[in-house]
């Protein structure tokens, strides 16, 4: 019986298994302030055990067929439904080919058992500073699709994550999926993280390089170094100028280390994180340079 420790038992709640989006919205309208949506439960159950959350109602969205969709349409892009798991994403050929940066982040999240349950949308909604998916999604200009009693809206991932465990979502709304614009031909991407042996990243980077009207366009986004993902436009500029060479990537990594604001915490000092910023940037760019 869980040894009676509050950390091992869950608070009381009523479990609802929704089967349509409308049902989720109706349940949220009724219990919104006291309810939490659950996808894989990987994060939510841990939060509840630690009493960081004690919702009176849990709305399981795994049974909603509409949210299970992982769809790619040329010109429109990729849409990832709220109950699409990491396992499904990691085995997606479209993701591997067209959205390499996200594929790399997804394949390196947790372990196979975690990936069988955890969802991308759940990861983003958790909005913990050290999640891996957010930098990759931001580097791809992805948006979060939200539905609620008052209708639908779309918010860029960059704006959706407002702070640690703080997202742009009303209590009567939930996330139906994530939309990623179609990648132009020849878009390349890489994700790197440094964990130092811990479960989560101490510093990570997502890089996406695309060509736009014959110009190189770069996106460089760091994770785990601050309370929210940090985009580094200075490093992006360094990558967009001139030839893409070893000298360019060295300069970009240096510029990133100089300009990205890093926090100090129990895992690492800000100075160490700045060093890691340079290292992971070099690692990601080196791979892009080589293939």
């Amino acid at each position: 019986m869980s040894f009676g420790s509050p950390y091992l038992t869950l608070p009381d709640f009523t479990y609802h298994r929704a089967s349509t989006v409308e049902e989720v919205i109706a349940l949220l309208k009724e219990h919104g302030d006291e309810a939490k949506v659950m996808a894989g439960g990987v994060g939510l159950i841990a939060f509840m055990k630690e009493r960081l959350m004690s919702p009176a109602h849990i709305i399981d969205v795994k049974g909603v067929e509409e949210l299970r969709q992982l769809r790619y349409a040329p010109g429109k892009g990729l849409s990832v439904g709220a109950s699409v798991t990491y396992e499904e994403l990691a085995s997606s050929e479209v993701l591997k080919e067209k959205y390499t940066v996200l594929h790399e982040a997804v394949s390196r999240t947790g372990d196979p058992m975690i990936r069988a349950r955890a969802t991308l949308v759940g990861n983003v909604c958790e909005a913990i500073p050290w999640i891996d998916s957010a930098p990759a999604l931001i580097s791809l200009d992805a948006s979060v699709e939200i539905a609620g009693a008052r209708g639908k809206r779309t918010v860029p991932v960059a704006g959706f994550i407002r702070g640690p465990v703080d997202i742009d979502l009303e209590s009567d709304e939930f996330v139906t999926g994530i939309q990623i614009p179609d990648a132009v031909r020849g878009t390349r991407g890489a994700f790197e993280k440094f964990t130092g042996g811990s479960e989560f990243a101490v510093a990570s980077v997502a890089v996406t390089l695309a060509s736009e009207n014959k110009r190189r366009r770069a996106r460089v986004v760091f994770g785990s170094v601050n309370s929210t993902p940090v985009r580094c436009t200075e490093a992006e500029k360094a990558l967009e100028e001139g030839e893409f060479t070893q000298a360019t990537i060295r300069r970009a990594a240096k510029v990133a280390a100089e300009s990205v604001e890093c926090v100090s915490d129990v895992l690492a000092s800000s100075e160490y994180r700045k060093h890691l910023v340079e290292v992971v940037t070099l690692q990601a760019l080196w791979r892009l340079l080589q293939n």
Binding site: M1, S2, Y7, L8, T9, L10, P11, D12, F13, T14, Y15, R17, G41, V42, I45, A46, K49, I58, D60, K62, E87, G110, D111, P112, M113, I114, A116, R117, E199
Partner: protein, 167 residues
């Protein structure tokens, strides 16, 4: 309280269960399936791993009600009658058990790996068990046990490994 009907190792079990009960506690306390071990309770060590509807999951981060109407297989379920499955036998023969606490999860996970991939590479084996923690560190013996029941490489693969390639 909800009625929860789950097929466990081929047997249909019907129990009333509270919404906030974990699949792990349901299996151990209600159904008395004690091979499912409880250790970290936070999805990290994987010793509570079971097959839920054909997928390996850590049962400490799954609700019992989520298994309602579904199927659960634990390490007991892979035994063929009274005969041990080849991977179970291999664990015995290679001393891959040590204290035995993590053994059910490792055996079940490896059994599942070999079912879908009879000839896993070392890298694939490592990836498959990466969510499991063996605290006494029988990893070397576990590796040997898996290698002993995985099918041998084809001639071409063996040559490739030797760096000879096949022309």
């Amino acid at each position: 309280m909800n009625e929860c009907v789950v097929k466990v190792n081929g047997q249909t079990r019907r129990e009333r269960v509270k919404d906030n009960v974990l699949l792990l506690d349901f299996l151990r306390d209600k159904l008395e399936v004690r091979s499912v071990k409880a250790a970290c309770w936070r999805g990290e060590c994987g010793l509570c791993t079971v097959l839920l509807n054909g997928k390996l999951v850590k049962s400490c981060i799954v609700l019992a009600v989520e298994a309602n109407g579904g199927e659960v297989t634990t390490v007991e379920g892979i035994t063929d009658g009274s005969k041990l499955a080849p991977i179970q036998q291999a664990f015995v023969e290679h001393g891959a058990s040590q204290c035995g606490f993590c053994t059910p999860a490792f055996v079940l996970t490896c059994h599942e790996l070999l079912k879908h991939n009879p000839r896993p590479t070392e890298r694939e084996v490592e990836e498959a068990v990466s969510g499991l923690v063996c605290r006494c560190g029988t990893y070397a013996q576990i590796r040997e046990a898996i290698a002993s029941v995985s099918q041998p490489p084809t001639r071409a693969e063996a040559l490739q490994k030797l760096g000879k390639g096949v022309r």
